[in-house]
């Protein structure tokens, strides 16, 4: 696939799988979705983190934070 054809997917998967409802979500301007959630590497807590906030777990102070898994549906062949 050439680079020009690539588009950032904006659809959110539906529960039944297979079909996508195209409903673009705005990550930048939305006030509620502005904070990202990360997973603490030490205590496994879900850590909300604002833009520019120190990278640190509020519960245990751990400095290793992991990204959450994609919210998008992933399709596999059961083979």
């Amino acid at each position: 696939m050439s680079r020009e054809q690539y588009q950032v997917p904006t659809g959110s998967p539906t529960a039944d799988g297979g079909s996508f409802k195209v409903a673009p979500r705005d990550y930048v301007s939305g006030s509620s979705d502005n904070t990202m959630h990360y997973l603490c590497g030490d205590c496994a807590a879900r850590v909300p983190l604002d833009k520019g906030a120190p990278i640190r777990c509020q519960r245990c102070g751990g400095r290793v934070l992991y990204k959450e898994r994609t919210k998008r549906m992933v399709q596999f062949e059961a083979r």
């Binding site: 998967p13 529960a15 039944d16 799988g17 297979g18 079909s19 496994a44 898994r69 919210k71 549906m73 992933v74 399709q75 596999f76 062949e77 059961a78 083979r79």
Partner: protein, 374 residues
């Protein structure tokens, strides 16, 4: 010299594969034209009908054992191969993973799900459900799923701490809720006419509800939906309706000269239990001249009770005391089948379906051949 028709004994002998200490003789069949001068061995449907027999030894839903007697290895092998590779079953084919934070990777999880055997209403499975074909236009794939070709399943499990667990508890299944994900957690989502065919008793469900799919720890979650399609074993082993479908030839044990006393007991120990029995030599046998029993009245002798249970280990051929007293072999035209069903079909129905399938194949071939010569 005019040709003499073969005796019954001779005909029996021709059917035996010889099993010797280190070699096997007469492996291939000889009942075809031009093997024996003056004898007609061309294939004849009437002769086949006369000689062919089927005997059932065991017929349970998950395991059937039966004998095909009087047919060629090519036919028996065709049935075996059709049972393994050509009888359609329903299995999970696509997995749509919304979330999987367990330690088991998505593709491994999908593969494990695919291998789980499912059961459901027989009428719905065999008559109502049809093949699903991938549309030529990939963009039309979401319009190719119908109630008659796709079965939808869901699996939603989330592991949490169990507050009611006793202090000091170490068993993860008690310490956490949903620590183990089993096949019974899979939920069937009927669509359209599937309600009619797969409700109540007939619902699509795993045959073995206790299959462990994954293990979870608190905070981990599996959330996915699945599509099942019909398929055949030649495409993927998960579609095979049988765990094993195999055959073996009927063992033949022929005691040529009497085995008596202590030797008889030792001889019986050379075989699995129940193959060789011990009997007392009778008065008549002892009185018969040249039988080898003279003067042995009342002693035990070895007799063949149930050769089918023999594994043909050839243990008896290792011992010098049984030399020339016993002949081992297998009947070339007696196939003992063992069919183990995975649960979607009844084990005997798999064989019947294989017969129908072979017939269909033969009819298809006939059409092709007729077209070819026209």
């Amino acid at each position: 010299m005019p040709h003499k028709p073969p005796t019954q004994e001779e005909l029996e002998r021709r059917k035996i594969v010889g099993i010797h200490e280190e070699t096997i003789t007469d492996v291939s069949s000889s009942d075809y034209p031009w093997t024996y001068p003056g004898e007609d061995h061309s294939w004849d449907i009437e002769a086949f009908k006369r000689n062919f027999r089927i005997e059932f030894h065991q017929n349970d839903p998950f395991e059937a054992s039966f004998s095909l007697i009087g047919c060629d290895a090519s036919i028996a092998n065709a049935f075996r191969r059709i049972m393994i590779a050509d009888i359609p079953t329903l299995a999970i084919e696509t997995v749509f993973i919304n979330n999987n934070t367990s330690v088991i990777q998505d593709e491994v999880l999908a593969h494990r799900l695919g291998l789980i055997p499912f059961k459901g209403g027989k009428e719905g499975l065999h008559k109502f459900l049809k093949w699903w074909r991938r549309p030529e236009d990939e963009s039309q794939i979401n319009n190719s799923y119908y109630d008659f070709n796709t079965v939808s399943l869901r699996l939603e499990v989330k592991c949490e701490h169990n507050e009611k667990a006793a202090p000091g508890e170490t068993d993860p299944t008690k310490l956490y809720k949903h620590a183990h994900v089993y096949a019974r957690d899979i939920e069937f989502c009927p669509v359209g006419r599937q309600e009619k065919y797969f409700s109540g008793e007939n619902a699509i469900a795993p045959v073995n509800p206790d299959i462990l799919i994954a293990k979870l720890r608190p905070g981990q979650e599996i959330s996915l939906s699945m599509h099942m399609h019909k398929g055949v074993g030649s495409d993927h082993a998960k579609f095979s309706p049988v765990a094993t479908a195999s055959y073996r030839l009927m063992p033949v044990i022929k005691i040529e000269r009497p085995i008596l006393g202590k030797d008889a007991e030792k001889f019986a120990k050379c075989f699995p239990k129940g193959v060789i029995g011990l009997e007392k030599v009778t008065k008549q046998e002892a009185a018969q001249k040249g039988s080898g029993y003279e003067g042995h009245e009342g002693e035990v002798k070895a007799v063949v009770v149930d050769p089918m249970r023999d594994t043909v280990s050839r243990e008896c051929l290792r011992h010098p005391e049984f030399k020339d007293k016993v002949k081992l072999g297998r009947r070339r035209d007696h196939f003992i089948f063992l069919v183990e069903s995975t649960g979607q079909w009844e084990s005997d129905a798999i064989f019947l379906e294989a017969v129908a399938h072979l017939k269909k194949k033969a009819q298809d071939l006939e059409k092709q051949v007729i077209n070819m010569v026209r």
